[in-house]
């Protein structure tokens, strides 16, 4: 996919939240959810952003589609800067990008039928007349594997997997070019996860989509993603082609994610000791590698200076002194 036309670019994206005032009115230290994230996606590419709860992946998803502004840094979609809060630019860009969430019931209005929800988006975004919008909605329902009869049904009448199909159909109703899927499988059964994943792969081709796929589960990304970026505490730790990254992870955190993914597969064996370590340590106090407190191979040099991602060739980047050999004195 390299050499394609860049459609999405995040540059040095930082997001800080100021927690509410404390009980006695003391102001608190801002929490840095994203700490300088660079990510670019070419047209037609599927990039998976992987990380655990609190890594900042959902914050990034919301910033990527302009639902929240970054504290600093920029987001460009198709060459247009969407970050600075230019409402007209944002509205124009919104038509070309959509997001689907983990919990489909939370993003569907329980009092609007599946078909009406789609038709409304088509009327607004495509400026279609009522009747054409309805026809287009029925067509969309069929393309996501539902029937035309489902037009009149309400969200509660569908199963979780079917609701996710409706949410996907609604995101496509605006004819986007760029789709962000934030944990679209996590709330579903294993067998239904496979259905939705295959649906996304098919729709990606049919609608010529570019996809940012966000997940905590590294096991599923190889089926859909061309490239994977691993996020830990707001920083991208490793990035590379999906197959290579899964087979030969370089960063110790990616290694842990791969171990967790392989563990509970048939033949993967019983839990191993290195994952059973009792608790996760507190976040690092200052600069330096954010993974250091949890890292099995950390050295003294890993704390202190900020560790930048280094290109290791073959489209791979890793932010780890140990993995890139930077820790050995020259």
């Amino acid at each position: 996919m390299s050499g394609g036309k860049e459609i999405f670019r995040a540059r040095a994206v930082v997001k800080e939240y100021i927690p509410g005032r404390g009980f006695f009115g003391r102001s608190r230290r801002p929490v840095r959810a994203l700490d300088g994230v660079d990510l670019s996606i070419d047209e037609g590419e599927v990039v998976a952003l992987v990380g655990e709860s609190g890594s900042g992946k959902s914050t990034f998803a919301r910033i990527a589609v302009g639902l929240e502004p970054p504290t600093s840094g920029s987001i460009r979609l198709g060459g247009i800067d969407i970050a600075p809060g230019d409402k007209a630019a944002l509205r124009a860009a919104r038509r070309r990008m959509q997001i689907i969430f983990q919990d489909p019931s939370g993003s569907l209005n329980p009092r609007i039928t599946a078909g009406e929800a789609l038709a409304e988006v088509i009327r607004v975004h495509r400026r279609a007349p009522r009747r054409a919008a309805k026809e287009a909605a029925v067509d969309l329902l069929e393309r996501v594997g539902l029937g035309g009869d489902d037009y009149r049904r309400y969200p509660h009448e569908f199963s979780g997997g079917q609701r996710q199909r409706i949410a996907i159909a609604r995101s496509l109703a605006a004819s986007p070019r760029f789709l962000v899927a934030d944990e679209p499988l996590s709330a579903l059964d294993v067998s239904i996860q496979a259905q939705i994943l295959h649906l996304l792969i098919r729709l990606k081709k049919e609608f010529a989509l570019t996809l940012l796929f966000i997940t905590h589960n590294l096991a599923v990304v190889e089926n859909i993603a061309d490239r994977v970026a691993v996020l830990y505490r707001g920083r991208i730790q490793e990035e590379g082609p999906a197959g290579l990254l899964l087979r030969t992870p370089l960063h110790p955190y990616t290694k842990e994610l791969v171990a967790a993914a392989v563990l509970f597969r048939p033949g993967g064996g019983r839990p191993v000791a290195d994952l059973s370590s009792a608790v996760l340590p507190d976040p690092p106090a200052a600069e330096g590698c954010p993974f250091e407190p949890r890292c099995p191979i950390a050295r003294a040099r890993c704390v202190g200076a900020r560790i930048e991602a280094i290109d290791t060739g073959g489209g791979r980047k890793v932010a780890c002194l140990r993995a890139t050999g930077e820790d050995t004195p020259a």
């Binding site: 655990e52 294993v190 239904i192 994943l197 190889e222 899964l246 171990a259 563990l263 509970f264």
Partner: protein, 329 residues
């Protein structure tokens, strides 16, 4: 010696808007002393209803146990015939349960301390310093680094993994003989899931406690269980030793569940979807309930409801072609 838990021909139905839904249909399952049994199936297959029946926690207005027996312990008392007062002495003390969503299972307006101490007060009559010391030990046992601080916390101040540890501590407080864990790690991150599952496995072995593990993920069950039962549309379709059922599955549904799992590092293998939806069990009539979704169904599969037959390699399988020539895929 009789098994610790012996579910025999359990039948549960729900009345929803004038309609009767048969959630569990003549399910028989045993869990031996110290044994780990996995119960697997998709949403709506009846696995959670089966386990809620064991603790008699079905919604009172709509859920009904219409048949069968659930025997527990050395003397094999029938839990379904027990007065509510005696059932209360079993819940949480001899059989306890860990649920999927630790946030909803914990009371948000009480600290972990008061919720943990309550277990001791109700079942052991311990108070004050005795309960406090016991719960601190327990929190340390489930891998919480600072039990004193965690005790003082409210559930919302803890991460998902920590909440699940607190819930596990509460479940273990009275050293139950049987722990039922219903999707204990489904709501958690992959790396945290690994930690909680190894903790569960560790605790189970240390206390020689029996564990009934419910999951939609055969991979999770495969990592922990000695024996596995696969449920589909309210009935058990395959059951046997994990080492055999997951390696040479005989039922097409078990095979389909295995193929639905991702295979990391295999260049995008696995994750084959199972098309279609689970039907309401009994309403399907006299045919194999999986036949409409089965890729190897024959005409005879639509003509009669198959019974559980002994499978090669041990256990049972509810599939005529599957039992006759097991390895054909």
């Amino acid at each position: 010696m009789p098994p610790l838990l012996d579910i025999e021909d359990l039948e549960v139905s729900f009345d929803v808007r004038g309609e009767t839904i048969h959630a569990v249909d003549t399910v028989s399952l045993t869990v031996g002393e110290g044994e780990v049994v996995g119960l697997v199936g998709e949403s709506g297959c009846g696995k959670s209803v089966t386990t809620l029946s064991v603790l008699r926690l079905l919604p009172r207005r709509t859920g009904r146990i219409t048949g069968g027996a659930i025997r527990f312990g050395d003397d094999g008392i029938d839990l379904l015939a027990l007065p509510e007062k005696e059932m209360n002495r079993i819940r949480g003390a001899k059989i306890s349960m860990v649920f999927q969503e630790p946030m909803t299972a914990l009371n948000p307006v009480l600290t972990c301390a008061s919720q943990l101490d309550e277990v001791y007060r109700l079942h052991r009559g311990w108070k004050g310093a005795t309960a406090r010391a016991a719960s601190i030990d327990l929190l340390a046992e489930v891998g919480i680094a600072d039990p004193v601080a965690t005790r003082r916390s409210y559930p919302h101040q803890l991460s998902g993994g920590m909440r699940q540890r607190v819930l596990l501590a509460m479940a273990l407080a009275c050293r139950p003989r049987l722990l039922i864990a219903d999707e204990p790690t489904t709501a958690l991150d992959a790396t945290i899931q690994a930690r909680i599952l190894s903790l569960l496995s560790d605790v189970q072995r240390r206390h020689r406690m029996a564990l009934l593990l419910i999951s939609h993920d055969l991979g999770v069950v495969g990592a922990l269980a000695d024996r596995v039962a696969v449920m589909y549309a309210g009935e058990i379709v395959e059951e046997g030793p994990v080492s055999d059922v997951l390696v040479t599955p005989r039922h097409p549904y078990t095979r389909a569940l295995l193929r639905a799992l991702p295979v990391p590092g295999a260049g995008g293998g696995g994750m084959e979807p199972i098309e279609g939806n689970v039907p309401d069990g009994k309403a399907a009539g006299a045919m194999c309930r999986f036949a409409p979704r089965c890729t190897v169904a024959r005409s005879e599969c639509f003509r009669g409801h198959p019974v559980l037959l002994g499978r090669p390699g041990g256990g049972l399988c509810r599939c005529i072609p599957g039992v006759m020539n097991g390895d054909r895929r």
